[in-house]
Symmetry: C2
Subunit: 379 residues, 2 copies
Amino acid sequence: MSGQAITETRILPVDRPFRFESGRTLERIDIAYETYGCLNERRDNAILIEHALSGDAHAAFYHEGDKKPGWWDCMIGPGKAFDTDRYFVICSNVIGGCKGTTGPASIDPATGSPYGLTFPTLTIRDMVEVQRILLKHLGIDRLKCIAGGSMGGMQTLQFFCDYPSQFESFICIASAMKHSAQQIAFNEVGRRAIMADPRWNNGNYYGDISPEGGLSVARMIGHITYISEKMMQEKFGRIRKDKDSKAIFKPSFEVEHYLDYQGVSFVKRFDANSYLYITDAIDNFDLMASISSKERFRGQGRDRGVNFSDLRTKKGLVISFSSDWLYPSSQSKEIVRLFSALNVQVSYTDITTEHGHDAFLTDYRRPSELIRGFLSSLG
Amino acid sequence: MSGQAITETRILPVDRPFRFESGRTLERIDIAYETYGCLNERRDNAILIEHALSGDAHAAFYHEGDKKPGWWDCMIGPGKAFDTDRYFVICSNVIGGCKGTTGPASIDPATGSPYGLTFPTLTIRDMVEVQRILLKHLGIDRLKCIAGGSMGGMQTLQFFCDYPSQFESFICIASAMKHSAQQIAFNEVGRRAIMADPRWNNGNYYGDISPEGGLSVARMIGHITYISEKMMQEKFGRIRKDKDSKAIFKPSFEVEHYLDYQGVSFVKRFDANSYLYITDAIDNFDLMASISSKERFRGQGRDRGVNFSDLRTKKGLVISFSSDWLYPSSQSKEIVRLFSALNVQVSYTDITTEHGHDAFLTDYRRPSELIRGFLSSLG
């Protein structure tokens, strides 16, 4: 490749009401998205990518002037796992986020002020429904595949189960059908850290100093869980950066500096209220409870039940990482068992790596091989 | 037993300078301590108990009017592991703590105000040196045993190595010779949570509202690491306490309520600055580095090197818990390897339990058997 592939995030304004699973409605929303590669004439080569907690629509390529590409550039591009010479790849920012799609930091047209905590309670299904609007706008009825890691895997499973006729296959990486008590606990401590920061001010901090301290602590907790104990030890051990620092309780060990950096850089790019809404959606996600509730979306006539027979011709690829202690392999195996029981043809690999949960973003070689092979096997 | 054994915490005022390992000196200190059982005529039946991060001198029996006994009452008492019918058991609050022994919340006689961050940097060795003063006051030259779990294990190892002639044996439970990167990371996030709370105010919050939000978050993080993933799942799973709660981001899952309770109750009984000083001492503890430094305490002529030949006649008992992921069994095995190499006769057991790190406080049956047997085997 000569030169860098340049992209930009586009905004789809949706000037009609969007109804959340909670029953609440926003009169209008924006959807931020990017696409890579070309939709073919038959419009059947589209792949939808779902981002994780802190991700956004910028999954691949470079924004003009940027030194770093999108968050999954190692996986998306010409000749890569999601080969943009063959597939039309789409990624959008989730509703409730802070990267272009409407979220708590967006202006409520009714008040002229940011929504803050008046933003409706969020679910993984709400994220999926917003993406359906985008797909309709792009004129895509049926996708080759839907894929994502971590929270992206949750959206993947929810979307696939809610609308099986829309997908040929799914790829779910380092994810879970529902959070365990410990996973809820880690998220809860992150939320408490934000809400304990007086600057959070019940979510009304826009235009003022944001609760950077609390959000940074939340992110630091996250980062401990994203990498394996062994990798952290190999990378940092007990090495000190500032051997002669006499400043009391300032970071001294390298691992402290690392966490500090992660916290500080995160608050520059993420909204604390979005962190609350999105982690809450993750904790409340429960795929089995969700697909077994046959409840119809009132007034909209959408069937929320799964037509299990629709799943019979589908394929799934599930990937976990041996050292991922945040989303342990056992949770991926549960996904495999469920979809096998539903007659989906599921492939599963537990990849041996020391990268921990972050492997879905950083350890791309083996996943790339598996994904390439999986996509080639599709009709 | 008829009736409850009543005790109270006594204060030993030490009206002479105490020099910290950092070189800094406090003109006077208080030492809070409790004792259980009786010192025999030969003064050779004493056992020193070392408390963990959030512990105190009140290890056993009841304070007048209290409904709960001391933190290790399951282990200390007539007929218990540390049998007070046979042994004279001593426990004191660590220097830097907030339970009677001088710490950052104590009044600096020079200013009439609390020390706050002018309190000297703290080490595990400082904790040990303060306890030496107490032992001297009690007229005890030589102890049957020194024992502790978690940070108490660190003090145990430090004291035993610094003054091997003073002890016949040691018992080290669920501890480590030094913190790994992940262990430092968890403590660091707790410290950041406290310091990110504007009420912390650089340590000057006494007489004002204390940084309760930050300290509570720190404690919540701790509690996630104190119990095993499996036990947390069995205890809480995804059970909701407030099914109909519509209050956004308020605790809803039982595990959230549990953590919330732990945080709220902790801030009532613990000082945020003590939390900073003590976790800092833990993270900086490195037994090997410490015992291999032969440096003499300047001006006090105390030999800081280990006389390895003194260890030859000693015995040690090391206990770890299979589900303890904060202080994994591998770290206890390192302790066993070190002391075996030093010709200490070490017994080691990894106890199978689901209680996680908290097992050293809650899962007392097997440890009690092991400790009783170990103490009986001593001369």
